[in-house]
């Protein structure tokens, strides 16, 4: 397939359709509306089901129902909409349902604004639902990678029977880039747990997140934790750029990591050796790998389109072995490469 020009939201939707997404339930919100519009247009043409629900709450519960019935299913929204979906996401995690959630985040808190932001890192990685649950979170840095990570999200959701979120900032949703989307549908997976009729089984399948037996519920939680630990062992993803000879390590994810790459090029032209560590999975966070990459550096600078959320995970990972500084803009303001250059210089010894 030749490269074509697509907007992030469209490309994410097409990647889901190509991967074999069978059902989509959503509710409009800027800046991810093209994703829903695209699904409305093209999912039915691929024998899928599209429903524009009456609300975000309805959408996530339709996702729960369709996943429970064994469908490969996805929803998408943006910050305040993802906030509304948190209860349902906790239920999906509790019932161990493979679902994919795309979050195209914008400025907050509250209704906030419609411009890009990364102020929903905590929302994605900590979640607002109840219980000891975790959602895998993948963070692409552009349109091509967004299509690859959407596909990966379905694979991981099915591998772990767990919700997986693809967290794109509003820039990825709205920007145009050349893309080549894998046209091969993912192979179907066995879902012997799905509530799709008794089919000769001795007992019918029940998809449920409630368990009134304390010991059984404790064991369920231990099983979930074991699953989350396995994610960390097997599916951490990250990228390093020019870290080996670097004196300064920058940490950024999503589109801002590209601004940081521009800044690194400028810094190196000026004789300052900087490198980038980019987490591609925000959960599980690549803590061990980051700690190793940071050793011996003068300092670490975390750059986010928020006032410091991933920063906490970076500090936890580095465990005080290297000083950690921060630069962030928020509310829809996107930092320029020159701001990152200045921030690095301001922390350099002797500069």
């Amino acid at each position: 397939m030749a490269k074509i020009l697509m907007k992030g939201n469209e490309a994410i939707a097409q990647a889901a359709v190509s991967a074999g997404c069978e059902a989509f339930f959503g509710y409009p919100i800027t800046p991810q509306n093209e994703l829903i519009e695209y699904m409305a247009k093209y999912l039915a043409k691929n024998n899928g089901v599209f429903v524009q629900a009456e609300s975000e709450l309805a959408a996530i519960n339709m996702v729960y129902g369709a996943a429970g019935a064994g469908a490969r299913v996805m929803t998408s929204s943006s910050s305040p909409g993802i906030a509304l979906k948190q209860e349902g996401i906790s239920y999906c995690a509790g019932a161990e349902l493979p679902v994919v959630i795309v979050s195209v985040s914008r400025g907050g808190p509250g209704l906030g604004g419609i411009l890009p932001s990364q102020a929903d890192y905590n929302q994605a990685t900590r979640g607002g639902g109840n219980g000891d649950y975790k959602v895998m979170v993948l963070a692409p840095n552009g349109v091509q990678e967004a299509t690859e990570l959407v596909r990966k999200a379905f694979e991981l959701a099915e591998k772990y029977r767990n919700p997986v979120m693809v967290m794109a900032d509003g820039i990825i949703g709205q920007m145009m880039e050349p893309v080549e989307i894998n046209p091969e549908p993912l192979p179907p997976v066995d879902r012997p747990w799905a509530a799709e009729g008794q089919r000769g089984r001795a007992q019918r399948n029940v998809v449920n997140s409630m368990n009134l037996d304390a010991y059984k519920l404790e064991q369920h939680n231990r099983d979930l934790q074991a699953k989350y630990e396995r994610m960390e062992r097997e599916d951490v993803m990250y990228e390093t750029v020019q870290t080996d000879d670097a004196d300064v390590l920058l940490v950024a994810y999503g589109t801002p990591s590209r601004i940081v790459k521009s800044a690194i090029a400028t810094l190196r032209e000026q004789g300052i050796k900087a490198g980038l560590f980019r987490p591609k999975t925000l959960l599980p966070f690549p803590s061990k790998q980051l700690k190793a990459a940071a050793q011996g550096k003068q300092f670490v600078l975390v750059a986010e389109l928020s006032l410091g959320q991933m920063l906490v995970d970076v500090k936890l990972a580095i465990e005080g072995t290297v000083p950690v500084h921060f630069y962030g803009r928020t509310g829809g303001v996107i930092f320029e490469p020159s701001e990152i250059v200045d921030a690095v210089k301001s922390h350099r010894k002797g500069d």
Partner: protein, 217 residues
């Protein structure tokens, strides 16, 4: 000079073309009438464009360029009455044209240019005829010309443009429409004599930040 209305499918480069055209025809007015999508609109560059002689008329109130208002500024009537050069950048799809009905009394007889990009799925050249039928039936406007804007951002090369140009010339002839202009990046080795129609050469993209280029160092 007749007002020029710019239309086309989503993401074919309408706003970038309208902005580049305005810069090359300053002093003029660029009406940013995209009330569908609040990202990557010419109004984001209002202040800088003003220094270049391009006045933005849009749906914003004062300088709040990110308002998501489904409204058009009535200032457009004054611009037309004074006869200032005017280019109107509409939102993508047939829906982007619908609200112009409000101003049809003063816009009748305008040039209406359809921007096409052979690398955008909804703008593949076999889609041009049905797109024109749809746009004209929904807006009561008549498409008067095509703007050729085939590109793949940094991956654009001269053969890509020239091959698409040859295909588009045949399609334009079949449809009885002129290609009014072809967009050409100044970094490409392409020259006016290679085209039967005028070309619009630009040095840099106005509505796209430099850091959005390739993802590798």
């Amino acid at each position: 000079m007749k007002p020029i209305i710019i239309t086309g499918a989503y993401g074919v480069g309408k706003s970038e073309f309208a902005t580049q055209w305005a810069l090359q025809h300053a002093p003029c007015v660029l009406a940013d009438f995209d009330i569908i999508n609040p990202y990557f609109r010419p109004r984001e560059e209002t202040d800088w464009l003003a220094t270049q002689g391009v006045t933005i008329v849009g749906s914003m109130i004062k300088h709040h360029v990110n308002q998501d208002l489904p409204a058009f500024s009535g200032d457009i009537r004054g611009v037309i009455a004074k006869g200032l050069p005017l280019i109107i950048d509409c939102a993508g799809s047939e829906n982007g044209l619908k609200p112009l009905a409000t101003f049809m009394d003063v816009l009748e007889g305008s040039e209406v240019w359809l921007v096409v990009n052979a690398n955008r799925p909804e703008s593949f050249f076999d889609q041009i005829e049905p797109m024109i039928d749809l746009f004209e039936s929904r807006s009561a406007l008549t498409i008067t010309g095509l703007v050729h804007n085939t590109h793949l951002l940094d991956l654009t090369d001269p053969p890509m443009i020239l091959n698409a140009q040859a295909t588009l010339e045949k399609e334009a002839q079949r449809l009885g429409l002129p290609i009014v202009m072809t967009m050409v990046d100044a970094r490409l080795d392409l020259h006016p004599e290679q085209f039967a129609n005028p070309i619009l050469v630009f040095d840099r993209l106005i509505l796209r930040s430099d850091w959005m280029k390739g993802t590798t160092l």
